[in-house]
């Protein structure tokens, strides 16, 4: 059977293909019509689920709670109701203690049409996610949608225990257009797709140590990865002082890989230069390498 592209699936198709067949039980389904109270006032159509499906399911027989964001609706933007559904799912997980919580993230961040409500919602999602980590319930974020995972949802993703990404997935805080708008096209040309993927794509995140598993753009590969991550004894990573110090050490090593006195003067592409700093022998080849080859590099030494 040929691979089914994770990027090309809708949120609901991902749920149907990633979880055990027929196991997804949705909470607040579309027939509840829990839509945005703000969009209609702005002349923008609502979605019956406000762009996110939440519920419980099983994954390889284990009970999980899961949320999937629909990137095609408002770029997966987090509005008031969308955010409240995520928070409700996470808080219920704290009460009911499923084996894990999966977030199939695809989002440009806060939905600007309802910005204040969306910002508050994202901060509540972060708090609820960190509460789950403190409780030792594994949280896993899957990133492989065409819209990537940006803005507030980029931060949410890095608050989770584990991240699985495809090479076509993207993860960052400010999106390419935002960086270009604030710092100019000389700093970042958002139309340069190769540059966008070199600096936010799955390969870069894997090499940097920002994601735990790099997979092909294939729903089955995401399912296998999710099962593998959740089967590992260290699936949950409670936020401890040691864990935070390790995180800071990772950031310091990243900075050391590209000494500040070489910034803008190293004569090669920034991402390639950074990969070289990580000790990769032929960093210019990374964009052309397949996922398996990039996985084999593992400069962060995770295995």
């Amino acid at each position: 059977m040929s691979a089914i592209s994770y990027a090309e699936c809708s949120a609901r198709e991902r749920l149907a293909l990633l979880l055990d067949p027929g196991s997804f039980h949705e909470w607040l389904p579309p027939s509840e019509r829990l839509a945005s109270p703000h969009l209609a006032q702005l002349g923008v159509p609502s979605a019956f689920d406000d762009g996110v499906a939440i519920g419980r399911a099983t994954l390889a027989g284990r009970s999980v709670f899961v949320a999937a964001q629909e990137g095609a609706f408002m770029g997966g933007g987090v509005g008031e109701v969308h955010g409240a559904k995520l928070v409700g799912l996470l808080q219920r997980a704290l009460r009911d203690r499923p084996a894990a919580v999966l977030l199939l993230a695809e989002s440009g961040g806060v939905r600007l049409h309802e910005a204040n409500a969306g910002l508050i919602a994202v901060s509540e999602v972060m708090r609820a996610l960190l509460d789950l980590r403190a409780a030792g319930i594994p949280t896993l974020v899957l990133i492989g949608g065409a819209n990537g995972c940006f803005g507030g949802m980029g931060i949410v993703a890095r608050c989770a225990d584990r991240i699985v990404m495809s090479d076509t997935g993207r993860l960052a805080m400010s999106g390419p257009e935002v960086i270009e708008a604030s710092h100019g096209v000389d700093e970042f040309d958002a139309r340069d797709r190769a540059l966008v993927w070199r600096t936010t794509g799955g390969k870069h995140r894997w090499l940097s140590g920002d994601c735990d598993l790099l997979v092909e753009d294939d729903v089955q590969a995401f399912r296998d990865a999710a099962i593998a991550v959740l089967s590992a004894p260290d699936a949950a990573r409670p936020v401890t002082l040691d864990a935070l110090e390790a995180e800071h050490a990772l950031l310091a090593a990243r900075l050391a890989a590209v000494p500040q006195d070489t910034w803008g003067r190293h004569g090669e592409d920034d991402a390639v230069h950074y990969w070289r700093g990580l000790g990769i022998a032929e960093p210019a080849r990374i964009p052309d390498m397949d996922v398996a080859a990039v996985r084999g590099l593992d400069p962060a030494g995770r295995r």
Partner: protein, 107 residues
């Protein structure tokens, strides 16, 4: 200046059906993305097929009318509520989504 006011347009239709849909779990197909739409099919009391459209593309009432009538002519569902959130889908896409929803209903 256009005489079309801004905001969403809501269109309601109701037709007497001839094929009772019976009870079924609500069906959702499509997404509210640019040039796309979502269709929600639910069981309803009575023998009518009630259709409600919410669309961001105002002023296309006669075209919706034709597309929805064609749909009802094809399927003639009775006891069904059809709800559509549209973001500027073309008539062909609308017809395909409506047919997709009915196909899901039958599986």
């Amino acid at each position: 200046m256009s005489d079309i006011t801004p905001g969403l347009e809501t269109l309601d239709y109701s037709f007497p059906g001839r094929r009772p849909a019976g009870t079924f779990a609500p069906v959702l197909v499509g997404v509210v993305g640019s040039g796309n739409l979502e269709v929600l099919l639910e069981p309803a009391a009575g023998n009518d097929c009630a259709v409600r459209i919410e669309t961001s593309a105002r002023g296309f009432g006669p075209i919706w009318d034709a597309v929805v009538r064609d749909f009802h002519q094809r399927h003639g569902l009775a006891g069904v509520r059809v709800s559509v959130n549209d973001m500027g889908a073309t008539p062909a896409v609308v017809s395909l989504r409506l047919d997709q929803a009915v196909a899901e209903l039958k599986t």
